[in-house]
């Protein structure tokens, strides 16, 4: 057991040595870890209750008490920013989980059974690839909300983003499976008596996993943006506090007209930083797992 731990530590530190040499990757990781920490300790570190209203303190620019100023209702925007991080992180992670599981599963099947079921799966993937998914998401969310399901809207949004965002992953995984399954160790495993499912799970999946991982990190970025978009368009839950909702209220209360830049800029910049963080991690993992892209030290 100790030996195994030691071994996995050795492998991890080996990976870390390569990863830490990638400046982009480290910067991305710092950004993402920062937002995760903020989300995790949000209730503890937010100076005010983000829902508390002070009618005497509205439209205030940043000051010593309200670091990011206040909005039209008199909410403390700094506290809203901190608590809003949670929604972005939760939606990003869980929607990605759905996308990746569905995309990897379909990609595996489409690649492995390329001769028989491949054509069918490919058309399904193509179908989801070409659908303009913003309108699709809007329609799906609207339908779910009209159905008045007892499921919280946040989870509806997670489900909708997850179910519309898997096609890119599926296509990438499929093409990789097509090359991996022709490798001789797959034939050897079959000769040794392994069935289709065992070959897919134990031999092909581990070989495409770095790709799954790199792709997952990139998908998080897309999911975060999708959530912000839906909130901004007013399809989210108006009672939750999120960056998208902040932008939504800023727009509907003519913050631009009032020149309240402090209401618009923080959520905008935070979204950019979080998405950029995930994207940079994703690209550096891709660079590391594909040595041809790895920057060589001269």
């Amino acid at each position: 057991m100790r030996e195994a731990l030691h071994l996995s530590w050795r492998r991890f530190s080996g990976f870390w040595d390569i990863y830490s040499a990638n400046r982009k990757g480290v910067l991305g990781l710092i950004l993402v870890v920062f937002f995760f920490v903020v989300a995790g300790s949000a209730t503890a570190i937010s100076p005010f209750d983000p829902r508390a209203i002070d009618p005497n303190r509205t439209w205030l620019p940043p000051n010593s008490m309200n670091w990011f100023g206040t909005d039209w209702f008199g909410h403390d925007l700094f506290s809203q920013m901190i608590v809003g991080t949670q929604v972005s992180i939760i939606v990003g992670v869980f929607a990605t989980l759905i996308s990746i599981v569905v995309g990897t599963g379909i990609g595996l099947f489409a690649g492995y059974y390329a001769k028989s079921l491949g054509e069918f799966f490919e058309r399904v993937i193509d179908f989801f690839l070409v659908i303009p998914y913003l309108p699709l998401m809007i329609v799906l969310v609207a339908v779910f909300e009209a159905m008045e399901t007892p499921i919280p809207i946040l989870w509806v949004i997670i489900f909708v983003i997850g179910i519309t965002g898997w096609s890119g992953t599926a296509r990438i995984i499929r093409s990789q499976v097509l090359t991996v399954k022709e490798r001789q160790f797959v034939e050897r495993a079959r000769a040794a008596g392994a069935g289709d499912f065992r070959i897919m799970a134990k031999h092909i999946l581990p070989n495409v996993f770095p790709l799954v991982f790199a792709n997952a990190v990139l998908t998080v970025a897309g999911a975060v943006l999708a959530e912000v978009t839906l909130d901004f368009l007013g399809l989210g839950d108006v009672t939750t506090i999120s960056w998208g909702m902040m932008l939504h209220f800023a727009l509907s209360n003519s913050a631009v007209y009032r020149g309240a830049w402090w209401w618009l800029l923080p959520p905008g910049i935070a979204i950019i930083l979080l998405v950029m963080g995930f994207t940079m991690i994703g690209y550096s993992i891709e660079e590391i797992s594909n040595p041809r892209l790895r920057g060589r030290k001269a």
């Binding site: 071994l7 001769k115 490798r183 001789q184 160790f185 034939e187 050897r188 495993a189 079959r190 000769a191 040794a192 008596g193 392994a194 065992r198 134990k202 031999h203 581990p206 070989n207 996993f209």
Partner: protein, 313 residues
């Protein structure tokens, strides 16, 4: 123990079927080593893969039988075949680099067939795999390493350990020493020979390197263009080759004695297996071909059990 009778394996291709293995017959006894030789594309690997029915989807066994302990593997149900494969007959694939999964430790890969073919627990299988790693001469401490951490020769040892995982009776070795340097090649040959004696294994060795067969096998079979041309014990085949193709192959081998010159080669190239010649397939390149060679050659058995398919002998 293994008797292949009139085996025919054809590939479907544009414009007809490629007769990669056409009416091949050979046998193998308990503990015997058979060397199957011939130039590239002569059907030796296809013949071996046909025994285990590990053919690509565009290839089919269209005739003949593969009798293993009285059962015809060519007609066995898939389910039953899957149980026989690796447990009774296993294979060391060509190219050890590609036959190992790069993201799994070697001990896990060796343990996999054990897990699939017996009811042993993961721990037992791992322990058995570690014993196999030692059996093929690799330090047990390296069992948890990944394939890329091994050299070519060691990877070949891992492949051999994997083939032995379910203690088979017959092991097919497909070009086990090709692409290895001379020293490693000798070591692997020695290992195979030792294991064969220790475990009373039967082996079929596929190679284009006649020296390997001369050194490690008791019997030799020479194939040309999908046909078996000569089959006898090693001493007879190399000492008194009857088929002109076999003689040509042996002459094509460099001789370290005598003057330094390029060894003799056989003029011409092998026929197109989509449309092979009507008669003897070697006739167009044969130095002693005559009029009768445009008819299919007879199956001659000379001196007791020296098979040769040639009109002129």
């Amino acid at each position: 123990m293994l008797q292949v009778n009139g085996l025919k394996t054809y590939y479907r291709a544009d414009g007809g079927s490629v007769k990669a293995v056409d009416d091949v017959t050979f046998g193998l006894g308990e503990g015997e080593a058979l060397g199957l030789a011939g130039e590239s594309g002569c059907g030796k690997t296809t013949a071996a893969l046909s025994i285990m029915r590990l053919l690509p989807t565009n290839a089919n066994i269209v005739g003949g039988e593969v009798l293993y302990k009285g059962q015809d593997l060519a007609k066995m149900s898939d389910r039953k075949l899957r149980r026989t494969r690796w447990k009774d007959i296993s294979i060391v694939f060509q190219g050890a680099m590609n036959a190992l999964n790069p993201v799994k430790t070697i001990v896990d890969q060796i343990a996999e067939p054990i897990l699939l073919h017996s009811k042993s627990s993961k721990e037992d299988a791992t322990r058995a795999a570690e014993r196999l790693v030692e059996l093929v001469g690799i330090d047990k401490a390296r069992a948890k390493d990944y394939p890329h951490e091994f050299s070519g020769g060691m990877r070949q040892r891992v492949m051999i350990a994997m083939a032995l995982a379910c203690s088979p009776r017959l092991v097919i070795l497909d070009e086990p020493t090709t692409a290895l340097d001379v020293m490693t090649k000798t070591q692997i040959q020695q290992l195979v020979k030792d294991l064969q004696k220790k475990l009373t294994l039967s082996t079929i060795l596929i190679t284009h390197d006649l020296s390997v067969i001369a050194e490690t096998c008791e019997k030799a079979a020479i194939m040309y263009a999908g046909k078996l041309v000569e089959h006898a014990d090693v001493v007879t085949v190399f000492g008194k080759p009857l088929h002109p193709y076999t003689a040509g192959l042996i002459k094509a081998f460099p001789n370290i004695y005598g003057s330094r010159e390029l060894p003799a080669s056989i003029p011409g190239s092998p026929p197109d297996l989509l449309h092979p010649p009507e008669g003897c397939r070697f006739a167009p390149r044969c130095p002693i071909a005559g009029a009768e060679c445009s008819k299919p050659p007879p199956d001659k058995i000379l001196d007791g059990n020296h098979y040769v398919a040639c009109w002129k002998r």
